[in-house]
Every structure is written in structure tokens, then in C-alpha cells.
């Protein structure tokens, strides 16, 4: 009897071991109920794709300007479904760097398996929330080149938007419309303002297990200078990193109409 028990115990142990090994491998069947998302990014002015390095644009303040390049971070891409917990991407990285000088960066293939179904809305963070923005969290190029000075709060630029405008005497002046943490100095006190913001879109996104959903997000650059605040380069000057008031205004403009979804399609 004891011997029989031993045999059966051994058999059960083998079965449990087998279950462990089999379950440790990723099940192919899991893919059946999950979909994939690719985010694509484009940069526009007046509804058209930006033509870089050409002094052909005029903002609401009447400044003639041109764009050299745009470099920025998106983080915490999230999909929402009524009555369920939001789905926040987290598989490999919560953020993505976009650089108009690096074509490959203008597409973010999200590696997470996202539960299929109809989602009601999506959101992302422009830049980083404070908990996800610390100095030297990126040590490799190109992300590390977005480093933001420690004395200004540290972490990384949310965005570098570089270009030129023609000033009041028609001199072509460079501008660095750079956004990140803002430093506020009141007497001997220094505080920091985090100028990130959440961008939300109420739009239906249906994920199915057999298809990849491509969502194209446009940054409408002219909107940074338009609404609700009219941005005059002659007033704000070439650099705003150390000017929290300017960055707050830029943030408020960014929250309104800078980002739009231009297409959602199955690949």
C-alpha cells in the first residue's frame, strides 16, 4: 500500500512539474484574445505636413517662421473601455522618443498585448509625469540628448522645437521652443512646475486579435503659437527653458489643439 502511494505521489509530482514547464512558456493561444497597436506621428502646420527649413509660415502674431526639427517624448499611452480598468502600456517602456531627424522614431510599435474589444477613448502624456522623469534614466542616444539641467528640475526635455523667425528688423533669429520642468524663484525659495499635460481623445478604437491597429497622431505645430494664447516670438525671445511663465503658456496652448488623431486603421 505504501509502495502504491509512492508511485502515485511520483506520478502527481511529474504531472505538476509538467504543468509548470508548459505554463512557463508563452502560450500561442494567448494571442487569440489580444490585439496590437502602432502609434504613428506626423508634424503639421495648417493641416499640411511641415516643410522643414523653409521660411514660409506665419503665426497668429504675424511672425514669419520656419521649423528645423522637432524632438519630443510621449508617455503613458492608455486605452479606456467603459466599466473596465484603463489599459496603460507598460511592457517594455512607458515612453517613446520622436525625432523628425530620425524617421524610425516616428512610429511606436507598442509591444504590449492589449485585450481585444471596443475602446471608447485613448490618452497619452506629453512629456513625463514627475514620477517618470528623473535625470540619467536614459543613458543612450538619442534619448539621453534630451537631458534637462538639474538646476531647472532635472529629468528630460519634454520637447525641443527648433527653428527661426524673422524679428522686427527682419533679422533671422533662432528659437528654441523647449519645454520641460519650470523653475520658479520667489526670493530665496525655489520651486518647480511640471509642465507635462495629458492629451485625451474621445474616439472609438476596436482592437481585434487578428489585426494591428495603426493610430496616427498629428502634432499641429502652428497651434503651439495660437490658442488660447497668441505667441509672439519678438516678445518671448529665442529661449524659454528658464522662463516658467513662457512654458506655462506653451503648455496651455498645447492642451488645446496641438494634438489630433488623423487616422485609425487596421494594418
Amino acid at each position: 500500500m505504501k509502495r502504491e502511494n509512492l508511485y502515485y505521489s511520483a506520478f502527481i509530482a511529474l504531472l505538476l512539474t509538467t504543468v509548470f514547464f508548459v505554463s512557463s512558456c508563452k502560450k500561442e493561444d494567448d494571442k487569440v484574445s489580444y490585439g496590437k497597436v502602432i502609434l504613428k506621428f506626423e508634424h503639421k502646420i495648417d493641416s499640411n505636413v511641415v516643410e522643414f527649413n523653409i521660411m514660409k509660415y506665419v503665426n497668429e502674431a504675424g511672425n514669419q517662421y520656419q521649423i528645423s526639427n522637432v524632438q519630443w517624448f510621449i508617455s503613458d499611452f492608455t486605452l479606456y473601455k467603459k466599466g473596465q480598468s484603463p489599459f496603460v502600456v507598460k511592457h517594455t517602456t512607458t515612453s517613446h522618443y520622436i525625432d523628425t531627424d530620425i524617421p524610425a522614431s516616428q512610429s511606436w510599435e507598442i509591444t504590449d498585448d492589449i485585450p481585444e474589444g471596443v475602446y471608447d477613448s485613448m490618452s497619452f502624456i506629453f512629456g513625463f509625469t514627475p514620477s517618470e522623469n528623473s535625470s540619467f534614466m536614459f543613458v543612450n542616444y538619442p534619448e539621453n540628448a534630451m537631458w534637462w539641467p538639474e538646476n531647472l528640475g532635472g529629468g528630460y526635455h519634454y520637447m525641443k522645437l527648433n527653428g527661426f523667425w524673422k524679428d522686427t528688423v527682419d533679422f533671422k533669429r533662432a528659437f528654441n521652443f523647449h519645454m520641460g520642468i519650470g523653475r520658479v524663484i520667489n526670493g530665496i525659495d525655489t520651486s518647480f512646475e511640471h509642465n507635462y499635460f495629458k492629451v485625451s481623445f474621445l474616439t472609438s478604437i476596436t482592437l481585434t486579435s487578428s489585426k494591428i491597429k495603426e493610430i496616427t497622431v498629428a502634432m499641429n505645430i502652428d497651434e503651439w503659437f495660437k490658442n488660447p494664447h497668441i505667441w509672439d516670438f519678438n516678445y518671448w525671445g529665442p529661449a524659454i527653458m528658464e522662463n516658467e511663465t513662457a512654458m506655462r503658456i506653451a503648455k496651455e496652448n498645447g492642451e488645446v489643439g496641438v494634438f489630433t488623431i488623423t487616422s485609425i486603421k487596421d494594418l
Binding site: 508511485y7 511529474l14 509538467t18 538646476n151 527661426f164 533669429r173 528659437f175 529661449a239
Partner: protein, 397 residues
Amino acid sequence: MKKKGLIIISWLFLITIIGLYFISCKKEEHPSTQVVNTTPYMFPTPKLFPTLMNIPADNPTTIEGVRLGRYLFYDGRMSGRMEPDSQMSCGTCHLQSRSFECGIDHPKYTGGHPFGVQGKLTPHYMMPFINLVYNFNGYLWSGKINENNPALGSVAYGVPAKPEFNWRNIESLFWMGLYAPHEMKSDSTRCIAALKSIKYPNYPQLFKAAFGTSDITIVRCGKAVAQFLRTLISYNSKFDRYLRKEQGGTLTPSELRGYQLFISEPADCFHCHGPAPLFTTDLFYNNGKPFIADAGDRFGYTKDSNDIGAYRAPTLRNIELTGPYMHDGRFKTLEEVVNFYATGLVPSPTVSPLMKHLSTGGNQLTDQQQIDLITFLKTLTDYQFLSDTAFAKPLDL
């Protein structure tokens, strides 16, 4: 008997499942190009430094390869000339004490402008050979040596258009130096013949250790020298210790003021020469110098008119030792460079938008601010690197 059979079947089943597990879960690996019996070189992993390294799959860094590369780097006979007064090696110009640049005080190359064995001046002044392994944006001032360059050979440098002479990575620097009329002005036949004839070091043996057989080829020479160059990592300056909060990393008030200026908008050095600890983006900028036409600028490679007058931003590490400065050596001292950025900028159609102090001629730093900035820059000198015997000329060469 029945139970015994059940146990045997169970064991067979388990073995099969375990086997399947290891087969199905095994990650796909790149085919190894590591030569049998070589030892992988262990790179240092300094805190805050990049973790990605630009090492081509067909040339893994090994202790044996680095050893051979170090001999080749310093052996003037590699140029194919055996007479002592006409030999030239990489190390002839690239001095460790000058961050593997020439330096303005080079005993032979007056003013820091090297010339080749036949006296022809190099088209540009030098860039330092440090931390090259972290650069993915292209080598030389124009960045023309990069992964995406399809070119083979070079008419200007006399390098034949053969598949082995690509312009894709640090390996390419070797044949540029070997063939170029302003450098060794040699060729692979002479180089290989010379290496075969040398009694000491025993090159066939060194090649065998590094690459598995004693065959001496120009591709292997390039690979070995590139392996050595990739090991030239500078990471222990006073400022590195400051950044890592280590002993010996306390900055003086002037150095701190200089650092604060460096990362401020009013001085605005860090957008091109940042981030720490590399102190370069390895990207290309027209920095507002008075324009002098040059076929070797970024435009010369990309043919994009926006790149006219643009050059790679060099690292500022060891910068006090690497004068003269700029691609054409127009500034002899750090003081001249800092003063140029303060008051000497000139507009041009292709100036970088990061040069935002252009309308005022520069960042207008005061004399004291310029002194502080230079004081800070000198904290980037890595004396340990400059005297590391692992990078020096082999004592037995």
C-alpha cells in the same frame, strides 16, 4: 508490472516535455562570430555612461584582438616602410597624452596640424580617439563613416573601391589612415608584406590568437585596430567623480559656477556638447563660425544644402589638451574658443538653430564667466585615462 510501466511512461513524458521547453523557449541568438579560443574583452561599465556600444557583429572585441590592435596601432612598420625615419603609425599622430589627438605642442607637427609621410597636410585637424564605441552618429568631422554609407573605397584617399574597404565603422579609419596621401600613403600589399617580414612581435602568431589562423589580411588589420580603439574609454575625470558623488569629486566655487553656466541658456553649451558624461551629441552643427568653403563638411557627405558648414560636435572631455580647436584649427586656445562663442558668431543661411545668441554676436559672457567656464572644462580632463598603460605603446615594441 503495470505500475512500473506507468512510471517509465511518466518519465519519458517528462523528459519529452522538458526537451520541448528548452527548444521552444530558447531565444533566437545571433550567429556568433566570436573566434574559437578567444576571450571576450570586458568593457568597463561606468555609472551614467551609455550601455549601448557600436560594435559590428562581425568584429566582436576580444582580448587577443585588442592586443594585436594595440601593436598595430603603434607599429610604424605597418605603413609598409622599414626605415625608421620614414615609418608612420596611428600612434605617430594620435598621442595618448593628448587624448589620442595630436596636440598643439606635438614635437613634429607644429601647431598641431599633422601631415603624411610625404609632407601633405591633413585636410582637417584631428578629433580625439576616445569613447568612439558610444558613437552611433558617424565618425570624422563630417560623419561620413557610418552604418548607412554604401560607398566602397575613396578616390580622394586613394582607397580602392573594393568590398573590404567600406566606410561604415571604426574599422574604416584604418584603411583611410593607411592609404590616404596625407597620412601613411601606403597600401595593403606593402602593409601585409611588412607585417610578414617582422621578426618581433610575431605577427602571424598574434593574428592566429586573434582570428584563428595566422593569415595576415588588411581586413583583419582594420578589425584589430578597431577593437583597440573601442577600448579607449575615458570615464574618470574629476567631473565624473563629481557626477557620481565619489571621493575626489568636489568642485571649486569657480568650477561650479562654470558648470552652472555650461548648462544654462545664457551660455548654452550643453545642447550641442551635452549631455554629461560624454559631452557631445556626436551630431552636426554649423556653429556660426565665419564661413570658409570646405569639401569636407557635413554637406560634402550628405549633399543636403542645410548641412553646409556643419561639423560634428567633438567631445569636451580632455578638451584642454586637444587644441587647436575646430575642424580647421582656427582657435589655438580654449580662451579663444570661449571668446568666439561670446562675441564672434556670424550669421549664415545654414547656421544651427541652437546658436540662438547669433543676433547679439554671441552669448556675451563676461571675462569672469569665461574664466569660470574654462575652469569647469578643465575638470573634464581624465588623467587616469591619459596615463593608463593598457592604452600606451607596448613596452616591447
